[in-house]
Amino acid sequence: MPDISTAAENQVTLADMRYGEKGRIASIASQTAENDAGLAARLLELGIMEGAEIEALHRSPFGGDPMSVKVDRTIIALRRADAGTIIIERLNGN
């Protein structure tokens, strides 16, 4: 899993992005203790892969989990635990 603390200033995990924030996927941790092994493959099926542009959208009214994001033109719902494995490079202002 990538070490977030040493990552560049403008890198965050998808789980930390607020509504309307945009970025580019820098890397995806293949597997963590909370996530099932097939997660990376399932993300890829929906077009979530390195280099894709992503925008954070809504959060569930119940505890903010899951959240919805937009990758290209696809809107995807995912849980925060999974969003936490996706490292985003913020795009500033554009």
Partner: protein
């Protein structure tokens, strides 16, 4: 050499594939299952402008050929010609959403590697235009090396064009298909590089990126809103169940009158003998009391189909995920569970979208707790007979509220059972939520009507075969042997059915069930709604001719106490007696053990719940 061309529709979920299929084939379609699976097979036929007969099969939607869920495996096997029951399609028609080219083109590239004759339907081109997306069809064609036909599946005009284009291409493709060599061994492909390639082609073929789907953004801001979102979801479900009652009332009265007129006509025109009794008391009373609920089932299915087609259903899953997670499931279970309100069978079959076997098993186990439409006849009858039809706080209808409570009892029980199961027998990490939220669309009337038509056919076939047969068997059991000459009790009391009922009564008496109820539960095994038909038969037979004319409602009011009626309602919240549900549970879990577990736990809860209701109500009413 071949009489008809075999065309397979392939595409991502939400590409509008089924709408295209409906538009091409109209009502000339058949649904069934792929042999050895519970994956639904939709097939149909149409004729092109050049008079070529085409057999179309609408394959389950998939993002990739390497996907692993059972229905997506079927898609892969069919396009590879690996399913014995399904000949290799001559031509693949890949349906692509023009507003989401990049993601959808990846599947095209994956299919292209198979080297089979192929066409692309660039669907929803009207929506793309509205979003100011400008696609260069010629550039797309030459980049892919595959003919591309722009389509608007929801409109007739768009489909006519497709039919003409198909016609033009298919003749060439037939020859190509005949020449194509057997498929090379298939290997999963690297989705990342295909995705990049798809992105490159999408870029080449797109003159203008357009703007985003504004309607979807605005509606999501409302439907996924912190406060408005859950309120709207709850209100929508409430309206749905109120509508099932209010809107269906008049057509149900018509059907009831029609059935009554038919019975009167038979009584008037036939001599008083066993055959007339069989027709009037067995067939018409039994089947009629089930068919009368058709309007309610139609309304419920119309709501579910419309919610699904509009894209709202996935938002419901999004909102419900947290609640589902608290009992160890994910929001995806919401869709099979909501379908189970119509019928547990499609609901249990819809669990195939859940990849995790333990989550899937848990969902299958609780699906029968969702109040299926077959229970509506039971509830409607008892509510009409025992709950006063009056307004509460000026707005709500008491009958509607009781119905809502019964539904709620099923939902709450399902969550509790799921929570218990996930902590015991289906223990283990659950799969998290990951799903596409499709763009919002106005449901297409033709697709709704075709979907409803399909459901009505299934319902009527059930009423026709299953229910008719059990009604005749029940009539025989209830009519023979004839009562002794000095009989004081109703005739049925002395019959075989009466004898069985009296034995069962020993078991059911503690929870307030009479022998008539006990008898009716037996044929109710065939399908839950048969209980009503059986009650109709039991009570019709236990009185004189003019009493038969009295409606079942007033009959029950005289025969049952309020605690008994409430206990029967509570029983039916859990009622396990539906052989078809148990059969599909056996097939889907591939285990007799799980099937018996389902039947056993439901029966135990049903008995307990009915008992507690009866004892409590008796204590209060006195």
């Amino acid at each position: 050499m071949n009489s008809a061309l075999r065309l397979a529709l392939v595409g991502n979920p939400n590409a509008g594939k089924s709408a295209l299929f409906n538009a091409l084939t109209g009502s000339r379609q058949k649904t069934g299952n792929y042999p050895g699976t519970t994956v639904e097979r939709r097939a149909g036929r149409f004729q092109t402008q050049h008079g070529l007969e085409v057999n179309v099969v609408d394959l389950p939607g998939t993002y990739s050929l390497s996907a692993t869920s059972p229905d997506q495996v079927v898609t892969r096997e069919v396009v590879l010609g690996q399913r014995d029951s399904e000949p290799l399609p001559d031509v693949i028609l890949c349906v692509v959403d023009a507003t989401n080219l990049k993601l959808h083109l990846r599947l095209v590239l994956e299919l292209k590697q198979l080297g089979r004759p192929m066409l692309i339907a660039l669907n929803m081109i009207d929506l793309a235009t509205r979003d100011k997306i400008d696609i260069d069809v010629d550039a797309l064609e030459s980049a892919l090396g595959i003919p591309v036909i722009p389509t608007v599946a929801v409109r007739r005009s768009g489909v006519k064009e497709l039919s003409v284009e198909l016609s033009n291409h298919l003749n060439d493709l037939v020859e190509e298909a005949a020449k194509t060599k057997p498929l090379p061994a298939w290997q999963p492909q690297d989705l990342k590089s295909l995705q990049k390639e798809a992105g490159r082609i999408a870029k080449v073929a797109t003159r203008s990126e357009g703007i985003e789907h504004v309607m979807t953004r605005r509606l999501d801001a409302l439907f996924l809103h912190k406060i408005a979102g859950p309120v709207i979801l709850f209100a929508m479900l409430f309206v749905m169940f109120q509508a099932v009652f209010a809107w269906a009332e008049t057509p149900m009265e018509w059907i009831d009158m029609g059935i009554g007129a038919l019975a009167d006509w038979l009584i008037a025109s036939l001599p008083d003998n066993a055959l007339r009794s069989l027709l009037v008391d067995g067939v018409i009373a039994g089947v009629g009391s089930v068919v009368v609920f058709l309007p309610q089932i139609l309304i419920l299915f119309a709501f579910i189909l419309a919610l699904e087609a509009s894209g709202y259903m996935a938002r419901g899953a999004f909102l419900m995920d947290r609640i589902m997670a608290s009992v160890g499931l994910n929001g995806r279970a919401f869709i099979p569970l909501l379908s189970s309100f119509a019928c547990a069978i499609p609901g249990i079959m819809a669990t195939r979208t859940i990849d995790n076997p333990r989550d899937r098993l848990t969902t299958i186990m609780i699906a029968p707790l969702m109040t299926c439409s077959a229970r509506i006849p039971v509830y409607t009858l008892l509510i009409a007979a025992f709950i006063p039809n009056r307004a509460v706080s000026g707005v709500f209808n008491l009958q509607g509220m009781v119905l809502f409570t019964l539904y709620l009892a099923g939902i709450v029980s399902a969550l509790i059972v799921a929570g218990v199961l996930k902590r015991t027998v289906t223990k283990g990490a659950s799969q998290s939520l990951l799903m596409e939220l499709p763009k919002y669309q106005l449901p297409n009337l033709r697709d709704l009507v075709l979907g409803l038509y399909e459901r009505v056919k299934i319902f009527m076939a059930r009423a026709g075969k299953f229910i008719l047969t059990t009604m005749i068997v029940l009539w025989v059991l209830a009519s023979y042997p004839a009562p002794p000459a000095d009989a004081v009790l109703p005739d049925i009391y002395y019959s075989y059915a009466g004898q069985i009922g009296r034995v069962l009564e020993i078991l059911f008496a503690p929870i307030g069930f009479t022998w008539e109820i006990a008898i009716s539960l037996v044929p109710g095994m065939a399908a839950r709604e048969v209980f009503v038909g059986a009650l109709g038969t039991v009570y019709a037979l236990s009185g004189s001719e003019d009493q038969i004319a009295t409606s079942l409602v007033s009959r029950l009011q005289n025969a049952w106490s309020l605690p008994t009626a409430l206990a029967v309602m509570a029983w039916y919240v859990y009622a396990p007696q539906c052989l078809a549900t148990l059969a599909v549970a056996k097939r889907e879990t591939n285990s007799w053990g799980w099937m018996f577990f389902m039947a056993g736990y439901l029966t135990a809860i049903a008995y307990l719940a009915a008992g507690i209701t009866y004892w409590t109500a008796t204590a209060i009413i006195g």
